[in-house]
Subunit: 363 residues, 4 copies
Amino acid sequence: MENINKLDVAILGATGAVGQRFVQLLAEHPWFQVREVIGSSRSAGKPYGDAARWLLNGNPPSAVAAMTVLPLDAPLLSPLVFSALPKEAAIARELELAAAGHVVCTNASANRMLPDVPLMLPEVNHEHIGLIDVQRRQRGWSRGALVANSNCTVMPVVMALKPLVKYGIRRLHLVSEQAISGAGYPGVASLDILDNIIPYVPSDEQKMESESKKMLGDFRGDAIDELDMTVSATCTRVPVVDAHLVNISLDLAESPPLADILEDWQTWQAEAPIPSLPSAPRFPLQYINAIDRPQPRRDRNAGRGMMTSLGRLRECPILGYKFASLSHNTIRGAAGCSILNAELLAAQGYIEGFHMREAALPM
Amino acid sequence: MENINKLDVAILGATGAVGQRFVQLLAEHPWFQVREVIGSSRSAGKPYGDAARWLLNGNPPSAVAAMTVLPLDAPLLSPLVFSALPKEAAIARELELAAAGHVVCTNASANRMLPDVPLMLPEVNHEHIGLIDVQRRQRGWSRGALVANSNCTVMPVVMALKPLVKYGIRRLHLVSEQAISGAGYPGVASLDILDNIIPYVPSDEQKMESESKKMLGDFRGDAIDELDMTVSATCTRVPVVDAHLVNISLDLAESPPLADILEDWQTWQAEAPIPSLPSAPRFPLQYINAIDRPQPRRDRNAGRGMMTSLGRLRECPILGYKFASLSHNTIRGAAGCSILNAELLAAQGYIEGFHMREAALPM
Amino acid sequence: MENINKLDVAILGATGAVGQRFVQLLAEHPWFQVREVIGSSRSAGKPYGDAARWLLNGNPPSAVAAMTVLPLDAPLLSPLVFSALPKEAAIARELELAAAGHVVCTNASANRMLPDVPLMLPEVNHEHIGLIDVQRRQRGWSRGALVANSNCTVMPVVMALKPLVKYGIRRLHLVSEQAISGAGYPGVASLDILDNIIPYVPSDEQKMESESKKMLGDFRGDAIDELDMTVSATCTRVPVVDAHLVNISLDLAESPPLADILEDWQTWQAEAPIPSLPSAPRFPLQYINAIDRPQPRRDRNAGRGMMTSLGRLRECPILGYKFASLSHNTIRGAAGCSILNAELLAAQGYIEGFHMREAALPM
Amino acid sequence: MENINKLDVAILGATGAVGQRFVQLLAEHPWFQVREVIGSSRSAGKPYGDAARWLLNGNPPSAVAAMTVLPLDAPLLSPLVFSALPKEAAIARELELAAAGHVVCTNASANRMLPDVPLMLPEVNHEHIGLIDVQRRQRGWSRGALVANSNCTVMPVVMALKPLVKYGIRRLHLVSEQAISGAGYPGVASLDILDNIIPYVPSDEQKMESESKKMLGDFRGDAIDELDMTVSATCTRVPVVDAHLVNISLDLAESPPLADILEDWQTWQAEAPIPSLPSAPRFPLQYINAIDRPQPRRDRNAGRGMMTSLGRLRECPILGYKFASLSHNTIRGAAGCSILNAELLAAQGYIEGFHMREAALPM
């Protein structure tokens, strides 16, 4: 039942943990279809079904399982490329592909902080898409582009904060409890995490501090003006399969009552056309009125893994406000967000050759 | 191989999770021997081995397993009484027993915040023992006494802070990741915690804030002068069997370099005779020089469960300092601490009929 | 978007773990709609959303959350009743309701082994439905009926064995590794199962032996002629949220090659109209060609939790054949199976007032 | 407090999971002291404390932490060598060292099934020690020797069966539930085992079948006459840190009443001098009279990890008898057993230069 009008996409790093999420989430996508899967030299030349040790539930979609894995340096035909490459491999290859005319939506951290690369979460900062024009102009690209999504632990933070930016966010204290799937595969050894906590996640604390400022910043003229706030992050790993929970304390310049914040969250919706994009949840946030929520296992799949769940809003004697925020780390926090970014790019005409028909995006 | 000079002790709530730890830790105790075990009406009259569903490793000591469980209102013969009663049952009974001449060392929260009840952790505030004299004078008790130990999550906090009080603790931000054994038995349902986090622990956040101020306070004249600091606590439950980890951020009036704090911790020792008490670890604190420690499974048994493990000391952009602290919640954080309190009382002559011989306490 | 032609159903024991699965699985059911929820005296009179501590992902459907929970003895209006009652409560009440004209599909074990109660799994023994006629004749019921589904651990066994009955099953050796959700809520205490196995599951070993013989038996005349085989079962509990895995060794009268058994499984389909029932998976069995499958987390949701996954078929030096079989215990193994039973009853005209339209069941 | 009379020992593969257990268990050994630690080329030249990522509780003993790791081909001074090498590395090196005059006690599977290598568990088959004389004679070794211990899952099986060999063991059906530590480090990825079971453990099923026959065999003349029995094994991995549980069904030539088997187990003791060896438990077996035991977390440390715990003895409708058996897989099942083997060799004069003094072995 293949739609001949669907856009061909390629997945870099398709056999890894995040790569598999791309394959899974794109299996029934109304606009995109997987045409090329790219893996390491160890995987290249094999059928995807053999090369990928499938980590998700069930089995890989049969159409993709039958595809031959391409090597990293293979020339690609697909106009749209998703990247789940390891950092080192991503640095140069993503830029090369964008220069060659591909629109690259990446989950890799390699190029996230380049000044002309949008670090985008449509609901939070869709206007950063304007950086693509800057990028094309500065780099001399005509059709290509490189757009990144943030670290998976930053996601539940910026989703919760976006509606509160208007109060003036001054200080942000974060303690995360992160799922094992955030470390990829094989990732965390079971001997390190069963009946245990690891009170440190390599490099995530630094990313929490830098990426949140860029994402919540303003796109002014040709660049992002980062949000001026002080961030202190502690990242820990817990024996949970999926979903990152962040305990957030917050200092605001203004002092809204708790009820106002609740209402800000409950009524918040992204601007059109975002809520109508295929992967967007109708409401990006849900506040759960139960003292012991959000919980990873019970709330991670809200909105097919694309909603952020909030709870426990209360006063913090030190910073003013505190609450908990939770997102699915490999859906909203990784592949799902990249796909949503691509959908926005497609809807806004940034992908040449993809023409939205009316039926595709009811508005 | 029983020592006829050992002091008889009774355990209230002996069949529960903390009660069992008392039984286990007292099995080979050089000064004390279990003589009476007290349980609920459901257990009373049965042999302890039948009444107690043993939750710890192995089996209960055979001598105790054979004892008949006494009802809660039974008159007791033992001069020393340990209490692991539920809160409601503890309120009146502990005071009655103290009034009747027993020295009661309790792990229950019921009477912790009474102004004349020492909330004691020998290494932290042994001088609060002076409240017993106040207590006896005010209540007209001659031999009896009531001494409490703190909540199990407060323990790793005050242990870490005691050597830093001299710098002026102004603000304290705490996020705990607590083990399931802290909730007793049956306690946390497995369906609530497997592959999950519960971002709330009933009543612990409030205790973190109140108990830490009392414990770090000064004994002045007849009362405790609580430490004047602002505390913000968030308590979460994680799928770990034993040991509570607390992520601590700290604002100090002075600004010592990190190296000074490290040295304060590494050189800190309790005053004599505390380090020589049978249950005391030689050093109450260990700082672990590895970026991913302390960890519950690997560090909870340090010093037979009586040491507090510290790690990750670094600057906090908001409060100045941050680090992680971990203690075994049912040993140092509960039964072990009550026993250490009793040892201090015994060593200092607060338990009538127990005379220290030179051999007992090498100093 | 409610269908006015849907059949009203009541759920007994609606607030418990299995009751919640009924509520969840019926939320979007094309034929049935929840109209009455029945709970214990503690829940009766409260809105379902308050009375039920929701254990599944997300939140209860809002329509059901708003319903008032009825007491166990309330007269019911719904023609179809699902029962998730505890055993003791089920014994009399289920028969009363059937006598009063309700069709009762029960997951309780109370009445499973009554000679005139079908213990039904449509794919395995739909012809046992004939017992309803016996039941009605013998008990003088006109419209009512009582149909049970089996224990959740028996399910993956009989599903795997049904296509092999033709070879003559003589001996069956079973060792299960069962999920915690099989014990209901609060069920297994986390202190009993984290980093642990419990090598015993109360009453399940006996059920494995008795229920499998009844389910694989022949309906002859007025009664079930149980399958004559020897069964040895060992049931253990492991720290897994959902899905029971059973390690099966099997002695057959004939000696088919392994390839024949594989083909029997892979080609097996239930008779019409079963594969077209709303809750039926298209194929009830899947054999997974990977040496380390089936696995609970990865395979439990196959066919929306209604497929049984098989793997590791090989020779057993003692009994001839061995393999592993896995099913979701609260979907296929409980509520999902009861619903499938009710769908078959509806399709075959056993529920008065429910008339199949052609559109409802494409065949 | 070093004993100048202790025997120097070397540990091959000292930085791995089992190597660390050797280091830990030998830390306070009364007869042996670690003098040389041997690692991979990646570790060689570094201090052990830096080269070994310590996986066990706490930290490595400081004396060993300071030792420089030697490369695999380094000539060794220690008369006694423990091997925790990976299989491939072990094959040649263990034989070379034995040929060079070292007594090698290995946990590696590489040379276990060589006809002249004793596969020894002192309580089970100490008389197999006689193979060393065969080995020395056949291979022309004067002082060297090579002694292996079995696979960690075979251990709880042969321990339980040894007292029953007299009844004639004919058929043995085994289903194991094994801990993650059996796979070494990093071993099992957490994404593969959290909230999951893996129904297959590479190569263990075959070892269960072959090693149990050799271990329970008779030493006759110059060789082991393997026990003639039929073994069917299924090995599964569960989310448990330490200890393997095996569900055992058993067919005996004779038909002793259950009470006789219980008594055989409860009274069984190894022959002198085994019970007096430093690492030997006083009783090798404990039968636990509780329907839900043995359990990994609660029973693995019995006898400091050297006892085997049994439970659930009952009739098996197919094979006659069934029960559960459990041992700590990295203590009794690996390093602890190698050390006990070495103690027996020392006590019986197989290690040149080590002379038992009366005090060392009270008999």
